[in-house]
Symmetry: C2
Subunit: 425 residues, 2 copies
Amino acid sequence: MGENSFILKGDLICSISRDELSLQPESFLVCIDGRSRGVFREIPEAFQGLPFRDFSGQMIIPGLCDLHTHAPQYAFRGLGMDLPLLDWLDTYAFPEEMRYSDLDYADRAYSQFVDALVKSPTTRVSIFATLHVPATVLLMEKLEASGLKGYVGKVSMDRSSPDYYREETAEDALSAMIGWLRSSRLQFRNFQPIITPRFTPSCTDDLMEMLGLAARETGARVQSHLSESPEEVEWVRSLCPRAGHYIDTYLQRGMLDPDRPSIMAHSVYSDEYERRIMRENNVFAAHCPQCNMNIASGMAPVRRWLDEGLQAGLGTDVAGGATLSLFRTMMEAKQVSSMVWRYQDHSLKPLTFEEVFYLATAGGGAFFGKTGSFQPGFELDALVLDETGLPSPRKLSLRERIERFAFLSGEQCVSHKFVSGRQLF
Amino acid sequence: MGENSFILKGDLICSISRDELSLQPESFLVCIDGRSRGVFREIPEAFQGLPFRDFSGQMIIPGLCDLHTHAPQYAFRGLGMDLPLLDWLDTYAFPEEMRYSDLDYADRAYSQFVDALVKSPTTRVSIFATLHVPATVLLMEKLEASGLKGYVGKVSMDRSSPDYYREETAEDALSAMIGWLRSSRLQFRNFQPIITPRFTPSCTDDLMEMLGLAARETGARVQSHLSESPEEVEWVRSLCPRAGHYIDTYLQRGMLDPDRPSIMAHSVYSDEYERRIMRENNVFAAHCPQCNMNIASGMAPVRRWLDEGLQAGLGTDVAGGATLSLFRTMMEAKQVSSMVWRYQDHSLKPLTFEEVFYLATAGGGAFFGKTGSFQPGFELDALVLDETGLPSPRKLSLRERIERFAFLSGEQCVSHKFVSGRQLF
């Protein structure tokens, strides 16, 4: 047994299913070679000699899994949330992302992003970078060194954005992507490249076709945006008149594949057809409620997704979202689901705490493999939580403690963090 | 000039109007006897000898004004947000508030509440307590000692709630209220009693009538709830068939008076008539967007209020809201306004940062007198902000710094706090 074998003692919490929590106070979590062997009331005989960390009185939960965020936009989080999506991209996102052609700027900005991500409750993440290869490699180097795990996408985009922030031809875009994909696969272990057409309006049919082919040939995963705002959906309809639905612009170009999980962010306006295509093609929906409210996109009917069995998780979506804290996203997912119930469809019950906790852990975690849970065999990503800032005048149950902690906590509320059994702090 | 006379140097920001900010970097704020004499580029000759505090490089803004929160519910903030309003009251709020018949519990719980409120960005606040006089007096003692300022209401309620948490008769309720009102007016200076019928379903017509009379006779202000959820509005309609609108149940009993500002929390479903009655009667609308989303009440059309000239401010509404941070409420007010624009009425443009900042400072501040601004003559409530946790890879303008700070900050982000020129920390 290697250095990633040990036992943690604490109040252990994880999802058993979409709507049930395992709540095991004063229990033992056994980690062998970076993977969980399960949670026990007493240390089993076979594991008696392992190193032991006592976090008695503290809650320990699986690391949170962020299915969608934009690293280069971290620099303007909290700013420019006064325009709807398409104007927001032109006015704030593209000018900021363009700065990453300057490696000095990228170095400063990505250092701040990775520092904040390490301190945050996130352990697994799927990230959009910019279209620049050198800056994207720099970001991956910093992430690799951090001990976090996940995917990074050099963004591909050859139309619609301003000249200063667009790849000139589909061939240029493809060749930059392929070169980066091959070399970063060799260079990195914790972070893998993911093919990232920004969204349909940013990619010509030619580029989308080539990216689809590259996905099939390399087996690389794919992430993009889908049906985020009504204006965007309308724009896609006019750009791609032969696609009946927005998702067809990905499907028809070979971007989706049942054998390779992919991520589509938002799906706020995905109808029954789009959701069926997603289910049939192993597509995870990344629900980003804060971004959807901040830039006035809308409110996704997540209860419907869950009822239909769509795979889903949460995304912070910086900088349409202002925070890296998936705890806050949990609360916003609950808020949005309540407003969907109130205004759109009274049959869609608001999400419960169990459900938003599941989305942020095992739900999104499934994209990254066996993560997001303490079940035996799962990679051991764990957060030891710091409750010192949250006094209570009365004794709380473990169920009350975790709900309250999640709904009241921001970005820095973790006292110790483990990813695949490796301690980050 | 007394001890509350001094000069603060820093980057000074306050609202000039509903949609314009005064942004004065490296300037001087002169405080004489607890009131602002204005903001200057250089220290005027007449004030040269005053004590001087140098906060160069830090932003200084007016204290934030919370128009609506429930002190006894602070103990369960972050919990029990899984039911709509009326069920939520029976299941969570009333059982918790009942605990305050126990003064030991009240002492523990209110100490935690007041500690948190002092550390928060709030300087002025209007609070609901419970129906218990001794616990309410204890809360007022703690608040008085804290240096914060505002109003506290012993809640009046003689119907609809469970036996264990209700006043037996209207006469009992009135006599408890009057005794408390008279003695606390003498005992406290920074916090004044405010007449607080919980909401129409909690008060018989007799009690409401007596409270209205008491308000007129004592000149005390009034606060309550109004048109928060559709089920509540419907309930009021059935309880008070002679009232055409919910607000008539207050108006007809003499609770509203153009000469005495009052607060109605929520007004999510207030129509044109209700909003007109509010405007004509000096009623402030307390917008509580987080609570309205958390317990599935709805989304208030604040843009419409502002266009019509309704006086309004923000409320944290703990524990339907989970946070005491009005910075977070600013962001949620913006989010809700964006969703109102998207789903309810495209003519109601989302609130700008200037507008949510105004609501949290001068807008709500007007309820408390001349507060919420650094204009000459205003009471000097000021927050020195701690930006150290918010690095940026590039230089930000002062306008960018305050927007980002507001939208990214939680409950503890203030390094120094002044109320009427008195330094709390």
